[in-house]
């Protein structure tokens, strides 16, 4: 057979490296379409938005630089601060409410022996139905004192509630609606996670004489912990970014009670005078969201070694 001398061996190594580089290039090539789309339609506008937030302008004429004055203006804008507060309340309550409801249904459905698919079918509906449609439905149900919900309340002797006209009740309604739309996702995620827990854990707990509450605390919850955090994070993000629920049902009213940062930004952009201000609002929202995610992701990472 041939003898191997140093030069051919070196040449082989170089050729090998060439092939590896070509493979690398190909792998990045596969990413190209998604990078182009996301880069053009999400990243570039994101940077542009930050630029806009530092300007004072409108859609028709380009703005002039004003530095951080938009942001300082927001700091003292009561409507914005209220919207910020409501965003927080809305997010927290929606996420927790959706979690509670999703968890409850997941555990209940898990105990079903038959017909699981049917219940699953029914419970996912709020997520699948277009928001416009579901909000029209809820609007009709809550519209006035003669509406169906108030009629039902009447059976229990509770006075009619002006759901959409009272700032307080409108806030509540919007949150309930958001929970209604979000819980299916948590439900299905937790159900799958619960079904993936090996039955032996529960059998062992049963043998050890563990009651239902203890089993839930010591076995079910730890197993579901990681998935729960991820699901709640996603729902929190969607709630914070929610536009349709609030815009379509209350439009931010009554009396500006249900504005969140996103809806307020929208109104400021299309009905206000300063586009930069709207952009600034959106940017503030984004920053807060990033902070929230960072906190939850750190929690997630701390859970992992366990």
């Amino acid at each position: 057979m041939s003898t191997i001398d140093a030069t051919t061996a070196a040449g082989g190594f170089r050729r090998r490296r060439g092939e590896a580089l070509r493979e690398r290039a190909r792998s990045w090539g596969f990413l190209a379409p998604s990078m182009v789309i996301i880069g053009l339609v999400t990243l570039y506008p994101l940077v542009y938005a930050i630029v806009l937030s530092l300007q004072h302008g409108s859609f028709t004429e380009s703005g002039h630089w004003v530095g951080l004055s938009n942001f300082t203006e927001l700091a003292s804008d009561t409507q914005f601060i209220h919207a910020l507060r409501f965003s927080a309340i809305f997010t927290v309550f929606s996420a927790l409410g959706a979690y509670a409801m999703g968890l409850g249904f997941a555990l209940a459905v898990n105990r079903l022996n038959r017909g699981r698919w049917l219940v699953r079918l029914g419970l996912l509906l709020p997520w699948v139905v277009p928001p416009v449609v579901s909000i029209i439905a809820w609007h009709w149900m809550l519209a006035d004192n003669e509406a169906i919900v108030n009629k039902a309340l009447g059976f229990f002797g509770v006075g009619p509630i002006t759901f959409l006209a009272s700032p307080f009740w409108a806030s509540v309604t919007v949150i309930v609606l958001r929970i209604w739309r979000s819980f299916p996702f948590i439900f299905i995620t937790l159900l799958a996670a619960r079904m993936a827990v090996p039955e032996e854990l529960y059998e062992a707990a049963d043998l050890d004489g563990s009651g239902p509450l203890t089993t839930f605390r010591k076995i079910t919850m730890p197993q579901l912990a990681r998935v729960s955090v991820v699901a709640v994070l996603l729902v929190a993000i969607w709630s914070f970014n929610d536009f349709e629920t609030i815009y379509l049902l209350t439009g931010g009213g009554p009396a500006n009670a249900t504005y969140n940062v996103v809806v307020l930004s929208y109104y400021q952009a299309f009905f206000g005078s300063n586009l930069g201000l709207a952009a600034a609002m959106a940017v503030v929202g984004l920053v807060l969201l990033l902070a929230l995610s960072a906190v939850l992701l750190r929690l997630l990472r701390r859970m992992d070694p366990a």
Binding site: S2, I4, A9, G12, R15
Partner: protein, 412 residues
């Protein structure tokens, strides 16, 4: 048809881990070569490098004399049987086997002929229209083999093909693989962690550990002339008893002492390996195979030197025709991990606290007719002195190997 040669093949991962260090290996045309070793020893990595699925850091691989180190897997004209079979789930058995042939633009009749022939040889004729998920584990394994056979490649590469089968099927399939390889006479590299497969299938066996080639030899030589403690302890079941001992020079001759026992070293051995005698008064590693011990009450030996030792047997495992007797020895067991390996990566792995072995446990394999029952029984066991192994206590290299391989003669 081609031999496979590896020259100074080395693999380092991007993060610096050394997987395979400078291995030279040669398997002749038509030979069945086995790569065997514990998990993580690099055997699968080596196989994948031969296949072209893993890039080589340095060195050269030749198939049929042609340097294929830079040739991508698909142009190497080899076929592979994967551990999990890797059958295409969306194709039926026929298409699974024909897939590779279609690529090479063979005429349809030729493809059908080859697939039918292989299917018949493997007993798959009735399964050709089925999909993999409808087959049993054993059938899937045979389809994987069929896929390789129809390619009529220069070499077969097999990655632990039997590990997912149950014990009985494994033995059957092992024989099948041997038969097929003999019939087709194709160069084969077979990876396994099971030393029984290595010993029964291989014409030549490469024992690997921690990325290094420990020994490359036909099975009988691995058994009778292991190059170091690792190979000695790896080949053979139950494994060889290995213990730290001391060679002492007495007026009667050289003896080896361990845990309160003393065995004379036969003069014939000292004559054949004078270096052994030079080590008198120094520590040494002693190896005794369980099958080289016997119950003197049952077996009488003729024509071999023997000695006895007393042991407190605490367990007897009856295996039908033989029985394994377990007993403790008050000395430090010799573990392969203790011995410094040539590769740099191993230095980092040595954990001295693990290495201090406490009391060694010995196994002696005796005839089933032995009256020794244990546990807690004080018994006298015989040892064939002409079958003692000695190893260097620092490097683990073999200092000598026994001359005879005959088994003890049973009592009438």
């Amino acid at each position: 048809m081609a031999g496979i040669a590896l020259e100074q093949v080395k693999k380092v991962y991007p993060d610096g881990t050394l997987a395979v260090s400078s291995i030279d290996l040669e398997i002749d045309d038509g030979q069945f070569g086995v790569l065997v070793g514990p998990s993580g020893c690099g055997k699968t990595t080596l196989l994948r490098m031969v296949a072209g699925l893993e890039p080589i850091t340095s060195g050269e691989i030749r198939i049929g004399g042609v340097d294929v180190s830079d040739v991508p897997a698909r142009d190497r004209d080899i076929a592979m049987v994967f551990q999990n079979y890797a059958l295409y789930p969306h194709m039926n058995v026929f298409d699974n086997m024909a897939f590779g042939l279609r690529r090479r633009k063979l005429p349809k009749e030729e493809i059908t002929k080859r697939v039918d022939q292989a299917a018949r040889s493997l007993g798959l004729e009735t399964q050709l229209k089925r999909k993999p998920r409808q087959l049993s584990g054993g059938q899937r394994q045979r389809v994987a083999m069929g896929r390789a056979i129809v390619r009529e490649p220069q070499a077969f590469l097999m990655d632990e093909p039997l590990s997912n089968l149950d014990a009985k099927l494994r033995a059957q399939t092992r024989a099948e693989i041997a038969r097929i390889q003999r019939e087709l006479n194709v160069t084969t590299i077979y990876v396994t962690h099971d030393q029984i497969e290595a010993m029964t299938l291989g014409h030549v066996v490469a024992v690997m550990n921690h990325g290094n080639l420990q020994q490359l030899a036909p099975p009988e030589m691995l058994y009778s002339q292991p190059r170091n403690v690792f190979v000695a302890g790896f080949i053979g079941s139950p494994p060889m008893n290995l213990i730290h001992a001391e060679l002492t020079q007495g007026d009667g001759g050289v003896t080896v002492r361990f845990g309160g026992h003393e065995l004379p070293v036969p003069t014939r051995t000292l004559n054949r390996f004078p270096e052994l005698g030079a080590l008198a008064g120094r520590p040494v590693v002693l190896g005794i195979r369980p099958e080289d011990m016997f119950d003197p009450a049952c077996n009488e030996l003729s024509g071999g030197e023997t000695a006895t030792l007393e042991a407190m047997v605490d367990l007897r495992e009856s295996l039908g025709s033989v029985a394994d007797l377990h007993f403790g020895v008050d000395a430090r067991a010799a573990l392969p991990e203790e011995f410094v390996a040539e590769s740099e990566a191993i230095e980092a792995e040595r954990e001295d606290d693990e290495v201090v072995g406490a009391d060694a446990r010995f196994v002696a394999r005796v005839d089933a007719s032995s009256a020794i029952r244990g546990p807690g029984e004080r018994a006298v066991l015989g040892v064939r002195l002409d079958r003692l192994y000695f190893f260097d206590p620092r490097s683990g290299e073999a200092l000598c190997h026994p001359s005879a391989t005959t088994a003890p003669v049973a009592a009438a």
